[in-house]
């Protein structure tokens, strides 16, 4: 049974996802162990749960995104992608002879609004086939504790004003407090989209280290 924890938070102009990166075996090639993937250049996704189910679901997401671009000529908005995936997941709960995917997908992207501006979005799709947009959410181990922690941090709409730096610090900081342990940069995967850099990317180990040091110094 997986002991993975994942969460995502949304700042004023960015969205960040964090997950643990456990490489339990010395014989494993660590660069092949990841739960963070691109759906498109601008939409990132973190898989929590059965990795094989997650990959299959991810490939479906990629197909949806690709089809959308082909038919409509512009990139699929993440809210629409989440809806399509959720509807797909729902079918597995109602069709005979199929089982639900044992994964929750957290999708992040800078979505273009009607007035042309980019707004950060986080959507979570669960095995039941329901999906919601979140200011901050979590999945996996200690899900409830993490969501409660994030609720307190957001009270009064505080997360709407977080800068990119503060968002990353909050995301990584949630870890230390909810899981009550310190982590090294190599034990985390941090994915981010920002207004300045809407393409989804993973932070490098050096960047994560910088933030971990900042958090440690604050304490």
């Amino acid at each position: 049974v997986s002991t993975q924890s994942t969460w995502g938070i949304r700042g004023a102009k960015c969205a960040v996802v964090v997950t643990q990166r456990k490489v339990p075996d010395k014989l494993l090639r660590p660069e092949t162990v990841t739960h963070v993937f691109h759906v498109t250049k601008n939409i990132g996704c973190v898989i929590t749960g059965r990795i094989a189910d997650g990959k299959a679901f991810l490939y479906k997401a990629r197909q949806e995104a690709s089809n959308f671009w082909y038919k409509n000529g512009y990139d699929i908005p993440v809210s629409f992608l989440a809806k399509r995936l959720a509807d797909s997941a729902q079918l597995t709960t109602q069709n005979v002879g199929q089982r639900p995917y044992g994964v929750a997908l957290i999708l992040v992207s800078m979505e273009q609004m009607d007035d042309g501006t980019l707004a950060p979005k986080i959507y979570k799709v669960d095995p039941a086939g329901s999906y919601l947009g979140w200011f901050g959410t979590a999945s996996g181990q200690k899900e409830t504790e993490a969501i409660n922690y994030l609720e307190k941090k957001h009270r009064g709409g505080k997360m709407d004003n977080l800068s990119v730096e503060d968002s990353i610090v909050l995301a990584i900081g949630t870890l230390q407090s909810v899981l009550a342990s310190d982590f090294k940069a190599t034990e985390l995967e941090v994915g981010i989209v920002t207004e300045d850099h809407p393409a989804f990317r993973l932070l490098t180990d050096e960047e994560i280290d910088r933030h971990l040091t900042a958090i440690a110094e604050k304490d």
Binding site: L28, T32, R99
Partner: protein, 256 residues
């Protein structure tokens, strides 16, 4: 640790209340009860070895191979149900061939492993199918360098420096960790794998058996092939001696 999945373990499309899919776990048991297979990623290629338990001394040595090429530069070694293994190999060959037709270049190890993992995974989704009762070691050596991946019946696939599957995997893994992972040469790996398989093999339980090894490396011109007979024989000689010596020290210690 084993819990009965009473009622929730009959179909692949049923989750148990604690979120497990028992059919996939049972499929993994089929692998865990079969002969050990080991793969090692080396600096100049990949070597795979399989402990083949045989049902009869009348079988022609070297027949009924469990490590087979799926393309010129790639091959699989599987342990578990041999009939299931053949289906997987068949699919892998189709994937390699189709990839080359579509893209004009040989399939990368990572992509082949991913495709096979997707295939494995599909069989864990539907009531009308059952998961494969075998795990696959995917070895390749293309322009992306030597690659070793392992796919288990659930369809998860990861890259490895060294990997052991089957009944002797715990002991084998401990031995593998002692090696200079990723830096061995293929010839050294052949000797190491031979020694480990001879070490984990239980002569009281599986009296008739055969060690089968294949590699894809610089020495084989990046072609997935059986390890040359003379090198294999030499490796087995040394392995038997080393394991025999450690057995002897064990019995002397016991008799003292």
């Amino acid at each position: 640790m084993s819990s009965i999945g009473t009622g929730y373990d009959l179909d692949t499309d049923t989750f148990s209340p604690d979120g497990r899919i028992f059919q996939v776990e049972y499929a993994t048991k089929a692998v865990d009860n079969s002969g050990t297979a080991i793969g090692l990623l080396c600096r100049d290629g990949v070597v795979v070895g399989v402990e083949k338990t045989l049902i009869s001394r009348m079988l022609v040595p070297g027949s009924n191979r469990r490590s087979m090429a799926v393309d010129i530069h790639a091959g699989l070694a599987l342990t578990g149900l041999t009939a299931d293994a053949r289906q997987v190999i068949s699919r892998a060959r189709a994937e390699c061939s189709e990839y080359k037709n579509s893209f004009g270049v040989p399939i990368e190890g990572r992509v082949l492993a991913d495709r096979l993992a997707m295939y494995y995974h599909m069989f864990t989704l539907y009531w009308s199918l059952r998961p494969f009762g075998c795990s696959a070691l995917v070895a390749s050596y293309g322009d992306d360098g030597p690659q070793l991946f392992m796919i288990d019946p659930s369809g998860s696939s990861w890259g490895y420096y060294g990997c052991a599957i089957g009944k002797g995997r715990q002991v084998a893994k401990t031995e593998l960790e002692k090696l200079d992972l990723g830096k061995l040469s293929c010839v050294e790996a052949v000797k190491a794998i031979a020694k480990i398989i001879h070490l984990v093999h239980d002569p009281t339980k599986d009296k008739i058996w055969e060690l089968e090894m294949s590699w894809v490396c610089d020495a084989s011109n990046r072609r997935f092939q059986p390890v040359p007979q003379d090198l294999l024989a030499q490796a087995e000689e040394e392995a038997k001696k080393q394991v025999g010596d450690s057995e002897k020290t064990k019995t002397t210690a016991m008799s003292e």
